[in-house]
Subunit: 339 residues, 2 copies
């Protein structure tokens, strides 16, 4: 019950306990830890020894309060029903967590839907985070708009027309253009594109890359072979039926979800890949990992996107300047589906 027994109690030991135990002031302890201000090398050592010995962990919350910081970054995940199982966001999150932990930050997550950003507002209002990572980008992006208006530190994983928001992305236009070019050069003459939800910037960019490849090679695109907003199995199956009728020789899909559904339909029609039609995907997940034949695709290190976004955000919070746009490499992986 004596004062000096404090550190044995279940409560965590505080900076005050150390000061008391060492006969120093709280200020000195603080300085010994932060390195700020001048302090004697010997006392510094003494403090650090004491800290190690007593396994002292500073209270980050209190530190934050004193500095008007939280040492947290917020990650906004989409909660729209059709996206809830998309692994992209999970991989992003892993990357962000990794970056944050390395810089002594923590990650708090919340969700938004296309038309409801109340939880994002709440997170900011509650002053629980020092900055925000957005993990998807829509055409009229409410979160991006809100963050821009409020001037809250933020970085976007993906691209956005608005240059004023910091962005981390891979170059979808270039990547899709490159993959398409390879396919065109390999002799494809009747290419089709099954593009995803055009409300997502990324799907517009993929479409644009596809178009650009044709332009660059001076080849016409057949508009009747371009399908947008392939957001459910019904429309995908219908589209596949139509393009097969029109003599397609190569199908490119916006992502693996579309691709796996297209492949299922082709199989049902007994239309063999790659003999009768080549198939490639613009986004490579685990979904088609063990498909037979293996599917050619654009591959990006999504976790690395998260790492980069996290680091950039924390730099920003620290007041350092960061690039307005940084790009993560992509890779073109050719497999049997386009042989």
């Amino acid at each position: 019950m004596r004062e000096s027994n404090k550190q044995n109690a279940s409560k965590n030991i505080t900076i005050g306990d150390i000061a008391e135990g060492l006969g120093l002031s709280k200020t000195t302890i603080s300085r010994a830890m932060s390195g700020k201000g001048r302090i004697g090398a010997d006392t510094k050592q003494k403090v650090q020894d004491y800290i190690r010995e007593h396994n002292y962990k500073p209270n980050v919350i209190a530190k934050g309060l004193a500095q008007s910081k939280t040492y947290n970054i917020g990650v906004i995940l989409p909660a729209d029903a059709n996206l809830i199982e998309i692994p992209f966001f999970q991989s992003c999150l892993m990357g962000i967590c990794e970056a944050a932990a390395g810089l002594d930050y923590d990650v708090v997550v919340t969700t938004v839907t296309e038309d409801d950003i109340t939880l994002l507002k709440r997170l900011i209002d509650n002053q629980k985070v020092d900055g925000i990572v957005l993990t998807r980008s829509l055409v009229n992006d409410m979160p991006a708009k809100y963050l821009k208006d409020t001037g809250f530190p933020a970085v976007l994983i993906g691209s956005n027309e608005d240059d004023s928001i910091i962005q981390v992305d891979s170059n979808h236009i270039a990547g899709c253009c490159e993959l398409t070019t390879i396919l065109l050069r390999s002799g494809c003459e009747h290419m089709a594109l099954l593009a995803g939800n055009q409300n997502h910037i990324v799907n517009r960019n993929r479409l644009e890359g596809f178009m650009k490849a044709h332009r660059d090679l001076n080849m016409a695109v057949d508009d009747s072979m371009i399908f947008r907003d392939m957001t459910n199995n019904i429309v995908i199956q219908k589209a596949v039926g139509q393009i097969v009728d029109r003599g397609v020789d190569c199908i490119v899909c916006s992502d693996d979800f579309i691709c796996s559904r297209a492949l299922a339909k082709l199989e049902e029609m007994n239309w063999s890949v790659p003999q009768k039609v080549k198939v490639a995907s613009f986004y490579n997940s685990a979904q088609l990992e063990s498909h037979n034949p293996p599917i050619s695709a654009l591959s990006i290190d999504v976790k690395e996107l998260g790492v980069s976004a996290g680091k950039h955000l924390i730099q920003m919070i620290a007041g350092e300047s960061v690039d307005h746009k940084s790009l993560i490499n992509y890779e073109i992986v050719l497999k049997r589906s386009t042989n």
Copy 2:
């Protein structure tokens, strides 16, 4: 520059500003908000009006510091490479976020691997959360053990031998038993099971349910038809080859990942489902959503698991007592693959 202009500044307005603006004490403002302690109905009203008018948002961090709480719960996600894209955890997380937001808590996430829980320790040491949700359960579960030893409030999504940790799960044994029973009763005589990583409790439970169904019906299980630790495509393909040779008439898989690989192999062998062999999965994700034929499976509302876990944890933190184990319903969804 005058004192009274404070609320126009970019800084957030504080409880002190309100007190000053209204000529009351900070205590009174605090009481008007929390409802604790007695306070005049009229002053309470006045305060609330002022708050609304000036769009005041209390600083949760400061509140927390004063109460030794954080109003955060931690969610531990597995970062093992082979699990990173599994949508189960993402759905859990969504549910936990939903529960937390509704109870004015936030969610901070971090990761562990099978043999490294330093980030979990860090989260607790930093005192950033009031409790922890574990989203997976292994046989020698380091996080569960650690939390038990430290006595930190925690709930586990999944099951664990150790009864002392609060658990939220669906009844995998009963569910798998029920589905297996249906298949046995429908005439299957040579059933095979492709079970997942036996280091995961859930996969052991699924196996147990499968066995129990046989026991209950007094039917022998053929050990050569039971495969454990089907963690990669190679072993799965090999297993499928073997069981087909042995005259299997029904294949049950631990989860959709195993199932999709098994289906791919069957297709390659031109072994039609369900004509030559029935197929079912013990865990239903979006992975096989549009497979042809549709796959019979056990279906559970994973997000609801998260919601339940989140609510239970926050109750616990509030000092209320919670059930040691609560179960979420499962559903057996029979489709063409077992017709």
